[in-house]
């Protein structure tokens, strides 16, 4: 699967570039995206590549600063949700049946709740801080992956070499570290990638609904103001609404490419027709 691998590398390269923009970019800008430096609704020019919004704030600068927020929340949510999924899924795969059943009921419950309304409720009441948003999104997205991890642990447990080691008297801790974790750990890569993707889109959705942090420029907030301030009614959507949306698509697609490439690589049944 050469094309798949190339796409995976392309995704990784894109992500690295985006991360560089997010880390270094804001320092190289003329403004912090909040200062009024131009005419309101100014169209793009050689000096101001994406023009200005209704308050005369530089849109290109906002776009660059937005990378920080999106990648930041992706990283935070993915770390927290993957850790939670590994913990709950791992425990549910090893615990006695009644405990496992209880844990999985909790997972079922989280999955059955109307996800987005709950998220909006929490965002509306708890405020728009980055940490709060990340915690809320993570609290809702860990459940599906937890089930995946548990299935992985159960599958690992029934493997022949693991059963053999157990029959020879290996302790549970040894089995877990030496034999189960190499099988389960690769599962966490796609989990990490997928929760990061979900986090970016969800966070942008919240911002689009007007629940983002108004003091920090972000891609979702840019689209929100573009929509509210009538950019869609003129050509302004081209430099106001299109770039941040494209940025989201590029970032999430880059993550997806990495995710699909690792999944394909990890699956031995697919390897032979490479």
């Amino acid at each position: 699967m050469r094309a798949g691998r190339a796409a995976g590398w392309a995704g990784a390269f894109l992500l690295a570039a985006l991360a560089a923009v997010a880390v270094v970019g804001p320092w190289l800008l003329g403004t912090d995206g909040r200062e009024r430096v131009a005419r309101p609704y100014e169209p793009p020019s050689a000096e101001r590549w994406l023009g200005a919004d209704d308050l005369g704030r530089d849109l290109f600068d906002q776009l660059v600063i937005g990378a920080r927020g999106s990648l930041g929340i992706a990283l935070l949510v993915a770390l927290a949700a993957t850790a939670a999924a590994a913990l709950v899924g791992g425990v549910a795969g090893l615990a006695p049946p009644w405990a496992a059943a209880t844990l999985m009921r909790i997972v079922d419950l989280v999955l059955a709740l109307p996800f987005l309304p709950l998220l909006i409720l929490a965002a509306a009441f708890l405020g728009p801080g980055l940490g709060v948003r990340a915690a809320v999104v993570a609290a809702l997205v860990w459940a599906g992956p937890a089930r995946l991890v548990r299935a992985g642990v159960l599958a690992a447990w029934s493997r022949g070499h693991l059963q053999a080691a157990r029959a020879m008297g290996a302790s549970a801790g040894y089995l877990l570290l030496r034999h189960a974790s190499p099988v389960v750990a690769p599962l966490l890569v796609p989990v990490f990638v997928r929760t990061a993707m979900t986090a970016i889109v969800l966070d942008a959705s919240l911002a689009f609904l007007g629940l983002g942090d108004p003091t920090i420029p972000s891609w979702g907030t840019m689209i929100h103001w573009a929509s509210v301030r009538g950019a869609m009614l003129s050509d302004a959507w081209l430099w106001w609404a299109l770039p941040p949306g494209t940025a989201i698509v590029v970032t999430v697609t880059a993550l997806a490419l990495v995710g699909v490439a690792t999944e394909d690589r990890l699956n031995p049944t697919l390897r032979k027709d490479r």
């Binding site: 699967m1 999985m104 079922d108 999955l111 059955a112 942008a204 689009f208 949306g245 698509v249 590029v250």
Partner: protein, 337 residues
């Protein structure tokens, strides 16, 4: 996804499994009931801030006490909860803080539209996702398959609200071929009215399907691709069974089981996720009602819509549960024995 996670051991009959499932639904409902009751009350920025559409914090103490008593907010929590349950049994969800309209009435108006939107898009999402997944799975690693994969990943990465905005601009404003907001245009009767509603559905459903098929596509593509050289498939080919039938019976059918699991896992997401699209297209469904209620700190409406959304997810879950034996012959066999 609630209760179908653990396949019941063969010895336990289907009846007992069904009973366990029903118990699971009741448990989810009870917890949802408690959450929907407690959450708005426990969070900061209580109802007194915006009660009746204005800032009540500035009211003089007497008027404030009157408002509080009128809505029962001065009672201890357990009394409020008891009253909430009692009213719920009578299908009385209270009156909106914002305008005093009965919540049940507002939900009754919004629910059919959401069911229409969500029902159509869930079915189409699964169907289109599976179909494209099979095509891409059969052509994995080749030009067309890769192209399809790239296309689906791109749409999967796009936020629904943004795609919706671009669709409004393109199909509504530039081409002018499709309505871009609401559910009806005045002045249609009979068949024309049905067509009118359908034309209002095209864009929101299209956006939900295009941005939602990703996981279904990937799951199907994966199972088809990994079973492509499985012994039973090669054997079927060797027996001279036509390619189409091999695909339909030996690749597609087993691939539907993980798709079904995926569907159950995503229901809560698909039902709630319609909210953003309803907002973009000014679609008068439950999602919009919920969003407006949250923005206005309208507790009774919020509780009502959350409960309705949870029940919707549970009912769809139950439906999906019931269709599972149709897909998995092993479960049917167990029922017969």
């Amino acid at each position: 996804m609630t209760v179908a996670s653990r396949p019941a051991p063969a010895r336990i009959g289907l009846a007992r499994a069904a009973l366990g499932r029903a118990g699971g639904y009741v448990a989810v409902f009870a917890v949802a009931l408690t959450i929907t009751f407690l959450l708005p009350r426990a969070l900061p920025g209580g109802p007194l801030r915006t009660l009746g559409g204005g800032e009540v914090g500035d009211l003089d103490p007497a008027a404030r006490a009157k408002v509080v008593a009128a809505y029962g907010l001065d009672q201890p929590l357990h009394v409020q909860f008891g009253r909430y349950l009692r009213d719920l049994i009578r299908l009385d969800l209270g009156e909106s803080f914002n305008g005093g309209r009965p919540v049940v009435e507002a939900i009754r108006e919004a629910l059919p539209w959401t069911l229409l939107l969500v029902g159509t898009s869930v079915l189409l999402t699964a169907a289109v996702g599976v179909l494209l997944g099979v095509i891409a799975g059969l052509r994995r690693g080749r030009g067309k398959g890769n192209l399809l994969l790239a296309g689906v990943l791109l749409f999967d990465a796009a936020p629904a609200f943004w795609v919706g905005m671009l669709c409004i601009l393109f199909f509504g404003v530039h081409l002018g071929v499709l309505p871009t907001f609401g559910v009806t245009t005045a002045g249609h009767t009979g068949l024309a009215a049905v067509g009118d509603v359908a034309s209002h559905l095209v864009l929101p459903v299209g956006v939900l399907v295009a941005t939602g098929i990703g996981q279904f596509f990937l799951v199907t593509r994966f199972s088809v691709a990994s079973a492509l050289h499985a012994p039973h498939v090669e054997h079927a080919h060797a027996r001279g069974i036509p390619h189409r039938r091999v695909v339909a019976r030996h690749l597609l059918r087993p691939a539907l089981l993980p798709v079904h699991t995926q569907l159950m896992m995503e229901l809560g997401w698909l039902v709630g996720g319609a909210l953003v699209v309803e907002t973009v297209f000014a679609y008068p469904g439950l999602g919009r009602l919920t969003f407006d209620a949250i923005q206005g700190r309208d507790y009774p409406t919020m509780q009502g819509t959350f409960l309705t959304l949870t029940v919707t997810v549970l009912v769809m879950n139950a439906l999906a549960d019931l269709t599972y034996p149709l897909l998995d012959p092993r479960i049917r066999a167990r029922g017969r024995s």
